[in-house]
Subunit: 421 residues, 2 copies
């Protein structure tokens, strides 16, 4: 089945906001096995929206529109869709009640134009919106479906997940099931090379690679009659990927991030961690602390951006700074050692580098970063040459620090069976 | 003049990447005074791309395509555009030379298919690509222009800024000039209310508001015959905005971020700063350190996520933690005081809060955050109720900490003329 996406909103055409809704919906539709050939953005303009919707209906089975369901005169997605599908509108009592309750709970007076949001086209399924006032709508237009969703991502995303996805699943013949294999520590091109034969031979399941900063995600997707059959198709392919990538795989759970998998490793092995950051300046701690419950393992984070702070807080020697410079293997090591002395953490990560745009030289160019990982007495320092602007270099340094940490932990565990000393 | 954007790439249709190019190009086109009514995303498919380009050319003066200029068989944007515009292709010697030089400098052997990138349609302007191998192209098709740009943002953005923007400017009658007034510390709806009369009365210049986390940007745009005339139009409106928003305005420079303006304030007044973070866990330091040259003012950052770290590193009292809990005015204060004692910084920011998803209670729900700002002996603590998921709450806490810091600094300066004690 073919799906087409239409995002409605002048603010997207003005570049005011990035169209993250389209990326979310596209990915979800791909997971459902729907083919998407076009995404269109159009403003809150009756004529252009009508034309765009008609074109989409001429080439797709399902058209999903996001945005333009608000209470103002400008918001006309629902009105246009009803007109194009020849469906008169009527007041939906349940939606009216929801709007009343919503405003009452916020103690806000209802403006007259809010009732517009309770008007629903005939032959429609109304989708509840627990995060706002505009209900979603699925218009059943012959064999076709027109799905209308509110624009704010915090309303659109849960509504799609909770109401639209189950609805579409029932519509689709058979089932589509995906499994994501998340790999870190190898580059995308190298990953692709190692599975070239699988990708070239693929029919069902298919394998798609998604490059992330410091990671590659491999999504294996099977389509089958039922869940059991889909799982059976996925199993050997996921197994083969596990064979090929081994410990480079940090998770096969869609919802587990690299920092979560690392926090799990640390907590399961009773290891505590501290960070001491120069160029990454807090972002590494920031990413680790994005894991709920990380306080069990995270001891302390220091941001020692200046040489003075490096000396005072973690005892980097003046002579080391003078001889090798702040961006050096030696300073990265002394930072990690010093942080271990101060915090007594089992594991320490340190970063020092030149994030630019200034401060680079021929010998030490912008993008040069040293990361040291200390694990119970053993130090590993690595040199990196990163690319991009200041923000990108810092983000990549954080990702590389996590990748290095994971590989040092695995090495430590392999030498200390069951993680015991 | 009307512009239309087409993004070419299956990876966008699969939701693999977010279409940030479209947001960038839309904003730049709006600044140039071009009206954009449609953005379309289409895959690397000859038939669909041909159809999309023809439709765009039927309703726009300028069509900008991003993506599909690579060396592989899949990349066919240039071939399709040449065909639609009836322009035969020829080998461009300068582009061929550039590709040779590029590969030689990287020490990589040139693959045969790379020469495809040096083929250029007749009646075209070739746009240099210092960041990659694919040159950009502007096809002059009667009165219309078809602009072809490489897909990677680090190639597309500089190429647009350096080559396309000056080209389009010459094409446009008169000039479009913008000035951005950046406001923090007031919400978007309140900003809009305060300038409702200006927005309702606007013709030239126009005023558009852009909500950012913790900030609102007001872009004033004038169109005129020449730069002097445009500046003359902008001046009174910018002056009026300055009157209305006063010290809420942190900059009128497009390139200055809130953290930059704060770092400037600190450096100009010889003030040093340290941070001690619980819920924001390093992200506040991380944002300050995104300012190049911040080492002049940034002393130390601590991440004290656990109660133990709060006690040990900045001396928060056990009794305070027990009596008021870690997320409280009192703990935020003791964290800031303690950090001042440790680092001797003139200014300290502390954060403590419940970022969720767990850890909330009826009395202290997820999203409750306390931020304390210490400026040379004076403490200000504020309570916040933030919304969103864990990442969003932490990001908003960081933005609010910067807004609070700025207002405390201004208050301090107003009481200590010229910032002297």
């Amino acid at each position: 089945m073919i799906v087409e996406l239409i995002s409605v909103g002048t603010e997207i055409l003005l570049g005011n906001i990035v169209n993250t809704n389209a990326a979310f919906l596209s990915e979800e539709c791909a997971k459902l096995g729907l083919a998407c050939y076009y995404q269109t953005v159009v403003g809150d303009n009756e004529e252009r929206l009508t034309e765009t919707l008609k074109t989409a209906l001429s080439r797709a089975d399902i058209v999903i529109l996001g945005g333009g369901l608000g209470p103002t005169q400008d918001d006309l997605t629902k009105e246009v869709a009803a007109k194009v599908c020849n469906k008169p509108m009527h007041l939906d009592e349940a939606s009216k009640k929801h709007i009343e309750d919503y405003f009452n709970s916020k103690g806000v007076k209802i403006a007259e134009n809010n009732w517009k949001q309770a008007m629903i086209p005939e032959d429609s399924v109304v989708l509840e919106n627990p995060n706002g006032t505009a209900p979603g709508v699925i218009i059943e237009y012959g064999e076709k479906r027109v799905v209308l969703l509110p624009g704010p991502p915090n309303e659109l995303i849960p509504m799609f997940n909770d109401s639209v996805k189950p609805y579409l699943r029932k519509l689709l013949p058979g089932i589509i099931l995906s499994k994501t294999v998340k790999v870190c520590g190898i580059g995308e091109s190298s990953v692709e090379k190692q599975i070239e034969d699988l990708i070239n031979a693929q029919t069902n399941p298919t394998i798609a690679t998604y490059a992330k900063t410091g990671e590659v995600h491999l999504r294996v997707t099977a389509s089958a009659e039922d869940e059991a059959a889909a799982k059976k198709l996925l199993k050997p392919v996921v197994k083969e990927l596990k064979n090929r990538f081994g410990t480079y795989i940090y998770s096969t759970d869609e919802n587990v991030t690299l920092e979560m998998s690392i926090a799990d490793l640390l907590i399961a092995n009773d290891l505590t961690i501290s960070t001491v950051e120069s160029c990454s300046g807090g972002l590494l701690a920031g990413r680790l602390i994005n894991v709920p419950g990380v306080s069990e393992t995270f001891k302390t984070g220091f941001v020692t951006y200046s040489n003075k702070a490096k000396r005072k807080l973690v005892g980097v020697k003046k002579s080391t700074l003078e001889k090798y410079g702040a961006v050096s293997t030696q300073v990265a090591k002394e930072m990690a050692e010093g942080m271990h002395d101060v915090s007594k953490a089992d594991v320490v990560l340190s970063t020092t580098g030149i994030a630019g745009p200034d401060g680079g030289s021929e010998q030490k160019p912008v993008g040069l970063v040293y990361i040291c990982c200390y694990v119970r007495g053993r130090m590993t320092v690595k040199e990196y040459h990163l690319h991009g602007n200041r923000a990108k270099i810092r983000e990549t340094a954080v990702a590389q620090a996590l990748v290095l940490l994971r590989s040092c932990l695995l090495e430590y565990f392999s030498e200390n069976t069951f993680g015991k000393e």
